[in-house]
């Protein structure tokens, strides 16, 4: 119990520490225009990477494309392009993914 509490405390320090440091340090530093552009591109890269981690999964020791995520993602993306309705696109993407999953 006490070991686990120590671990939780260390996790809190590491996690909150990095969160606070990013906000506190950089909020007091005037960034150059290239740096600002760089940081504005970070969310795009992170979102794409998070999607890729969901799209590519390990099956039987091999990396394979998740077809429910692939087809659901295509429908979701097309829906956003055509209708720009967040909730509708989300529901269509999940429904498509579920159908593909049932068909496989």
């Amino acid at each position: 119990m006490y070991d686990t509490l120590g671990l939780i405390l260390a996790l809190f320090v590491l996690t909150y520490g990095t969160r606070w440091l990013g906000l506190a340090v950089f909020s007091n530093i005037s960034l150059g225009s290239m740096s600002q552009k760089y940081f504005k591109l970070v969310p795009i890269a992170v979102m794409v990477s998070l999607i890729m981690k969901q799209l590519l999964s390990q099956q039987n020791g091999r990396v394979e494309v998740s077809l429910p995520v692939l087809f659901g993602g295509i429908v979701c993306a097309l829906s956003m392009r055509v209708k720009s309705n967040f909730l509708l696109s989300l529901c269509l993407g999940i429904a498509t993914g579920l159908i593909v999953r049932r068909l496989l």
Binding site: L11, T15, L23, L90
Partner: protein, 228 residues
Amino acid sequence: MQFKKTIKAAVIESFPLALAIATYGVSYGMLGVSANLKLIEIMLMSVFVFSGSVQLIVVAMLMAGSSISSILLTVLLLNLRNLLYGASLASGLSGAGKWRHLLAFGVSDEPFVLGQARFLKVGPDPLYYGVITLVFYVAWQAASFIGAILGNQLDPALWGLDLAFPMTFIALLMPSLRGKPILVTAFSAIVISAFMINYNPQNQLVVVIVGLIAPLIGVLCTGGEASV
């Protein structure tokens, strides 16, 4: 009036992601039980750490019998992206004053994505960020508790809840995919992610490395031209 509008927008826009977060929270609670953690320990970790990726990896490493030092090093590396998130969010949270220290607790994947989209649209908005963080925090605590209680009774895949996570990010990403720097960054992120995942699927640093390198390629290849 604006105060109420901001809160309403924050609750509505964070709700779908809160459902996705809850899915992971339930999984974390279940895994925590499997790692022989007590209910109080599972909940204390959620209350003080409030990070899905960190908590899921920690319980997985505890189950695998990893040493405390290797767990902490992994967590430190995983948390490096918080520096990027914090740096990127700082201007959007300007005006928060001392509340910034509390808002720092919400610097993580999902609030970051929603927060950035909001700041690009309306400028700095600490209230919005505070509300979405609170919604996610409540969802995470409730889901952790339910997961710990339920054990292994629920199958998120059966209900498609696991698909909510990638679909949400795709829906959020689509309106932003305009302009050469963004397209180059997105394409670079796809290539680097695919290469890294294919080379080592267990690599927990994919997001950190892609988050560092792909924007750099985007800026360098295009000279940061046009509006980013």
